[in-house]
Amino acid sequence: MATLIEDQLRARAKALLAEGTVDVVVGYRQGSNPLRVVPFVARTPAETERLVWNVVCVPNLAGTLLKHAGRRVGVTLKGCDVRSVVQLISQRQLERGRLHIIGVTCRGMADPEQLAAIAEGPVSDLIEDGNELLLNVGAELSRHPQDALRLAKCTTCTCQTPELYDDLLGEAPPAAIVADRLAGVRALEALDAPGRLAFWSEQLSKCTLCYACQAICPLCYCKQCPLTLQRDDPRKQAREQTTVFSYHMMRASHLAGRCTGCDECERVCPEDIPLSLICRKIEQDGSSR
């Protein structure tokens, strides 16, 4: 079901491609089920019909954008994604002049994992109705309040309206009650040192060094990475816990000052390691100086 924003988005993308302002438009298309979207690049005006905008447009397109650096790109971005793009522009990885940003105001995205968990069976449709989400499972509609299904990072969001855009779609959302970004870090710091070590040992023992956190990160743009030079020795990596510890410490600390807190690393982690905690700790450390 097309929403109002989705229609506006398709119309704008179509116009941009038709008038030749941009070469491609980066957005989302429907994924393998209604709870999933995947990044999509529309190259012709006709292809813009496949663009979608809904409450599960979670992936950060800034990383996808980086792959198209050098071309004239139109892109649909939420407030948090715009932050990553602003950072990429300031790091000279993207050219502002070659970007056309279609900003979309955001009231918080829903967590696809949670949606899948509460739906008993395959979801055939996901409908937004005010503050509620309607899940269509086997021709039966169930209503769920959207606030309870909010993505963790959206509960601490301070950028519902993008800070940089060429076009802005959607209405200004009501100011949300913003939770403490660093609450998780403080809770962990309240433990004693052996407690913290035990926490991280347990979490990081799940890590298989798949490097998904690094691959997805929009601000991890170095062509060569000192952290992956040992990739050719996977046995060493998988068995030694110290390697996993130092990988995660270094991944986060090399991003110090660049990380915009989009939490993509945590989202893609197949083992659900709370990687955002490490990023928040570094953020806390940087802001206290």
Binding site: L188, L191, A193, R196, W200, E202, Q241, T242, S253, H254
Partner: protein
């Protein structure tokens, strides 16, 4: 009876002050524990926290980073960068539950041989008390 624990310390010393300080310690025959292995770097600002992480990964129980006193840096401000970087990495170690005393930052000038010996002796004692670094699960 098992042998007493002897910590391994990796020292990363700046070429202009701390390394020369270590040299002074040797020349003046100051006694300090043989637990430290020294790597010379051109400036303490050169030290990426990755070096420290790799040192711990490869069996060091402690890492000593030493450079010029504030204002004495051969490259004007390298030691100021080192101070921020190493302190921040120490906080991160602490966040992971690794004792911050395993990473020591010291300022040693070229003439302070005795001070260098004292720093190494003090750190060795501390690490002996802490025991080996175990991250195995």
């Amino acid at each position: 009876m098992s042998e007493p624990f002897e910590p391994k310390i990796l020292g990363m010393l700046c070429s202009w002050c701390a390394y020369a300080g270590a040299d002074t310690a040797g020349v003046s025959r100051a006694q300090y524990p043989p637990n430290i292995r020294i790597v010379r770097v051109m400036c303490s600002g050169r030290i990426d926290p990755l070096f420290i992480a790799r040192a711990f990964e490869n069996g060091a129980d402690g890492v000593l980073v030493a450079g010029c006193h504030s204002g004495d840096c051969h490259y004007i401000s390298g030691n100021e960068y080192a101070k921020d970087r190493i302190t921040s990495f120490g906080n991160l170690l602490d966040f992971f539950g690794i004792d911050q005393r395993r990473l020591k930052l010291a300022w040693v000038s070229a003439s302070e041989g005795a001070r260098f010996a004292a720093v190494v002796a003090e750190m060795t004692e501390e690490l002996r008390a802490l025991g080996p670094l175990r991250l195995k699960v």
